[in-house]
């Protein structure tokens, strides 16, 4: 079976239009002007990953404050929305520091969700 996918390379502003074709175990890439394009297309075809960032409410001394959070590393792209749902379930109170772990190993990705901005009273 042959799978064909198209990507726009993000490595530089030229933005080559890449066509990746997978046949059996082999992936071939066309449209690239440099090596980075090949690596990018293969990664996007086999294991695309993104860092997820959002912000959550923290109840804090009678009202709430917003705290920004991220996945400490990139997670599989198709886990973004499910992970976002997990983050939205958080019910947080009190004070937090930058780097505090809010969810460990979110949805078995091996990645923690951490605070990127502190919240104080």
């Amino acid at each position: 079976m042959t799978i064909r996918q198209e990507f726009i390379c993000i490595a530089c502003p030229i933005g080559c239009s890449l066509i990746a074709t997978k046949e059996g175990g082999n992936i071939s890439v066309a449209g690239n002007r440099c090596r980075i394009g090949i690596q990018y297309a293969i990664k996007e075809m086999t294991d695309p990953r993104r860092v997820l960032t959002t912000s959550v409410r923290v109840y804090n001394g009678g009202n709430y404050k917003m705290m920004s959070v991220k996945t400490a590393e990139d997670i599989p792209k198709d886990k973004m929305l499910p992970c976002l749902k997990e983050i939205k379930k958080l019910d947080l109170q009190g004070c937090y520091n930058v780097g505090d772990i809010l969810i460990e190993d979110v949805l078995c990705t091996g990645v923690n969700v951490v605070a990127t901005r502190g919240v104080v009273l």
């Binding site: 530089c12 502003p13 030229i14 917003m66 991220k70 990127t116 901005r117």
Partner: protein, 416 residues
Amino acid sequence: MKKIDLIIIGGGPAGLSAAIKAREEGIQDILVVERNKILGGILNQCIHNGFGLHVFKEELTGPEYAHKLIERAKELQIPFLLETMVLDITPQKQVKLLSTNGVETIEARAIILAMGCRERPRGAINIPGDRPSGIFSAGTAQELVNMRGLKIGKTAVIVGSGDIGLIMARRLTLEGMDVKAVVELMPFSGGLRRNIAQCLDDFNIPLHLSHTVTKIVGKERLESIIIAAVDENRNPIPETERLIECDTLLFSVGLIPESELAKAAGVALDKRTNGAIVDNNLQTTVEGIFSCGNTLHVHDLVDDVTFEAYEAAVSAKKYLQNNTKSPTTVNVPVVVSGGVRYAVPQNITDISQELKLKFRVGAIYEGANVNVFFDNEQVYSKTKKILTPGEMEIVTLSADIIAKLQNVKEIRIDVK
């Protein structure tokens, strides 16, 4: 009147970086003035990642980048005032502050301007139609969603495909909104490739290039807009008009340096950047007043803001140490030609150091040559794979080359 050696106006990345460097360089008497409740400037609302690869060698979110600067500033015990707005600066460097304690004027020996920029308002591009609610500038929407946790609507269209517009398209999608399209007047996006791939393509949000909004419809709340393709003169083509239903419209149509205070102080402004005219010490046309960050010219990368602020701080220190002009002083204007839209600094006065010439082009150039001339002599040439209006470029000329400026009438930077 109270006197302070160095007042830094603005507590964003430019102001904080300048304060840190100034203190590291040995300036003791510093004051940072910030009008918001917190330090960090615009970074606090930029919760996405992509900051800090050059300064901190790791990929950080905006708030994390701010946090690192704030921690360092605290470590160095740099005094700062929050919820204090600078109302006015005089050419004599008297700085008028407004806080909950009232109005106070402090005299500074040197000032670093670091007030950032503001968003170009919607009025600037004049779209006919109703004036319902649901229309925001992208930066305001970013603050409402990220900092206040508000839901701003259900279905959105974004005008402008610079990085802020693209990032908001993803952000609103993640917050459960249906982003129907990003509309861009130009035939290309001003945003980074990465943002087009990860903010639009990942979520199947269409990007309509060479399109504009021709009408806004809605009584109380926005109900729909009409978009149309534009011809090569950027005039809408009526046959292409079509309606998109949406209750939210975001405008991300550019940033303008915050220059009111510079103007008040008598600083000359550059019509192209809308920021101050500076020399290669980042000194404005008023002695002892320096400028850096987005108030000088709009930067895409916060790392470049930090490096520029470091330069301003080193210059302020030199200025505070000796008020006399050095023998290496010249006055050579930098002019632009070909595809170059602007260059900073606009004047070279100090030929004892290397020069970082920052510039932007007005259109996309592939395989273009970047050349620098001292009068008619070519001193620098490089072929670039690609130059785009969305990315600031830096040409570095070594101190050896700059030393040759002694009898030169003008420096010209050209893209062909």
